[in-house]
Amino acid sequence: MSVKNDFVKFDKVDKSYDGKILVVKDLQLDIAEGEFVTMLGPSGSGKTTCLMMLAGFETPTNGEIYLDGNAISSIPPHKRGIGMVFQNYALFPHMTVYENLAFPLRVRKIPKDEADKKIDKALSMVSLQGFAQRMPGQLSGGQQQRVAVARSLVFDPQLVLMDEPLGALDKNLRESMQYEIKHIHENIGVTVVYVTHDQSEALTMSNRIAVFNDGKVQQLSSPDELYEKPVNSFVAEFIGENNTFEGEVLEISGEKCKIKLSSAEILANPISVKEKGERTTVSIRPERALINPTDKMDNIHNGKIEEVIYHGDHTRVRINLLGNSEFILKVPNSSSNLDIKLGNEIKIGWNSDDARALDPK
């Protein structure tokens, strides 16, 4: 059996609620079978709308969505066979955990003994055996969350949608649930479309991430590529921390370009600039710039330490560098021999490869 690369296909999908503003613009997105794809973006970027269109609670204004090769716009939600985990779990409060899980099986007229087996399996998958007779109100947030996941999987759907399912949990629980969901996905191989605005969640869990902004997919790629090689300044800003310089292209030659800042010139990697004179935003990850660079780096500049914040495993240092007073560096605690003191002048260096010249802000 070959894996379909377009198991879910958004084909030129537009969505507007009021006929004036497009919430989703010309969405083109293919999701492969068994993939874990996250739609990541700030609130109002259209990611939840996309999920709702896929689930069938919203209809596309234009375009078509295909599930396993079939157009689904005219299929009502209850016939799509898509599992869904909602933001606030949406467990039926008047039913026990068992009844909640039995609901999708009962409407499918699955015989009771078979249904019981499936329910047991689903509950053990989220390690909630023995909770079958509890009411949702008697469970903690994390347990409710797991019941919701189990319920969305109990009828063996090919596709599961998750709409910010971990939003209501506290930080530690959220992290452990991230791994749990990831493992469930790996074990049963179901296709998952996951919506979140939490970038670390997206990076941890996904095979691929679609970064949404302003109704459009800004970048669709694997987590590492998204972080290391953002294609525009929105993605660079939104994923992880980022130091930026605003400037103008002076020279451009193959893999390198020279950027003129207000007071200096730096070398950068031309990503979205093509010719001389273009405005650009240069983006450098904090961990790619080093204090007292030892090896040969092609950008070395002096900066003044403005603020030092202790973070346990690392120290954050804010430096005034080339007119940018918000330049952040992360210094691992093992390098305590460095002379990091407020007001000190230090040398900062980075490779021009890591300084990505993107579109201007």
């Binding site: 069938g56 939600p77 209850h78 898509i82 599992g83 606030n88 949406a90 409407v107 969305s152």
Partner: protein, 417 residues
């Protein structure tokens, strides 16, 4: 080691419980003083008057106090034959005293409730007793009218001896205690109260059902519409509250009467002919229509407040799990609205069961309820004790329904808002 003999002490050595009580005493007193005026007000204006009114339903002291000597002398009388001379003498003395106080009319009214025919013979006795001679009152009284020589009438007087009675309750159920002390039904053609009770229950029940059927979609719409529209709709629902009950009922009279707007409309569209207009008022139909409209908000509001708390994602979850819209509604949404349904139905039913003005105006003869009968006895016959007996029966009926509801659904499962 049980916790009872291990008393926890504060750092100063005072038992914790004592210390806590002391600390909270001030707050308790202050809280009590704050509610005290209202408590007093309720006791004076609500508990006392109602208690007094309800006492009237069993209170039968009036006759007892009017004929103290008679009843004392009657204690030994077995009621089989005519009472002895001493009873007649005592009755004569009591009666003379009543004439002096001009209360013999009241006595005749009261005794007439017990047995018909007392009114005329007491009047006659009053006239004749002026010329009574001393001694042998038995002969003299019996000579006034032959009914005075009938043992039945003396038994009737004796039946009024106890200071308390449940006769009014029997009357409310179309029953009475006959001469032998058995509880029997009144004659078939005089049974009016049972019909009224049943009709009250029937109308209250159907009004509740109609209200539920109409309010459920409205409440659902209110709960799901965007704020902008739902506020407007809410005002429409509450609008009737801003108009007087009388005005609303009167407007139904304009609409429903035979020459009214609805009938005119029916004639215009050819549903009925002009000389064959539908009777929609002064019967049950009128009561149903007007009461349903007036009580509708009481159903909408509790339903709305419950529906508002149901997350729309629950219905979506139901559908995404494979339930058809109907299954999702019936298995998920509907069970969650039961607290609101219970509250609304209980509210409407209880209000409907005691409804008075609307049935009085549009109900006619076949659409009036038990409360109209209560009002009739309060205002026209002045038989307050009977009115209050029926009031108490109505109250206990409502309490029974409340109890039943609690058994079936559970009262903590109710949500008024």
């Amino acid at each position: 080691m049980s916790s009872e003999n291990r008393q926890i002490l504060t750092t100063d050595g005072i038992p914790l419980e004592v210390s806590l009580k002391k600390a909270e005493k001030k707050n308790k007193i202050r809280a009590f003083l704050l509610v005290a005026p209202l408590l007093l007000f309720i006791i004076i204006t609500y508990v006392f008057p109602i208690g007094d009114m309800l006492m009237r339903s069993v209170d039968d002291k009036m006759v007892t106090e009017m004929l103290p000597k008679t009843y004392k002398s009657m204690e030994k009388w077995d009621g089989k034959e005519l009472p002895p001379e001493e009873v007649f003498k005592a009755f004569y003395i009591d009666f003379q005293k009543l004439i002096e106080e001009e209360r013999e009319g009241k006595l005749s009214t009261q005794l007439n409730y017990t047995k018909n025919g007392f009114k005329s013979i007491i009047k006659k006795l009053r006239r004749k007793s002026k010329s009574f001679e001393e001694g042998n009152y038995k002969e003299q009284i019996m000579a006034v009218h032959r009914r005075w020589a009938d043992v039945e009438y003396w038994r009737a007087i004796k039946r009024r001896a106890p200071a308390y009675t449940y006769q009014k309750y029997l009357k409310g159920m179309d029953m009475y205690e006959n001469e032998k002390g058995d509880i029997v039904n009144v004659a078939e053609d005089r049974r009016i109260h049972r019909i009224l009770w049943l009709r009250t229950l029937e109308i209250a029940f159907f009004v509740t059902v109609f209200c539920f059927l109409m309010a459920y979609p409205i409440a659902h719409l209110l709960a799901t519409l965007p704020m902008k529209y739902s506020n407007l709709l809410m005002i429409c629902v509450l609008l009737p509250f801003w108009t007087s009950l009388l005005v609303r009922t009167a407007s139904w009279m304009i609409l429903l009467q035979q020459q009214g707007i609805v009938n005119d409309f029916f004639v215009t569209i050819g549903l009925v002919t002009d000389d064959n207009r539908v009777e929609m008022m002064y019967n049950k139909t009128g009561s149903y229509v007007a009461m349903t409209q007036i009580l509708l908000p009481f159903m909408v509001l509790p339903l709305y407040s419950v529906m508002k708390t149901i997350s729309p994602s629950l219905m979506r979850a139901g559908k995404s799990l494979g339930g058809t819209p109907f299954v999702a509604f019936w298995k998920v949404y509907f069970p969650l609205t039961i607290p609101g349904i219970g509250a609304g139905c209980l509210l409407v039913f209880i209000l409907a069961i005691g409804y008075y003005i609307t049935p009085a105006l549009v109900g006619g003869a076949s659409g009036t309820l038990i409360s109209n009968q209560i009002a009739f006895h309060m205002k026209s016959t002045l038989d307050w004790s009977f009115a209050s007996a029926m009031g108490l029966m109505l109250l206990s009926g409502v309490l029974v329904i409340y109890w039943l509801y609690n058994k079936l659904v559970g009262i903590d499962n109710i949500k008024l808002g």
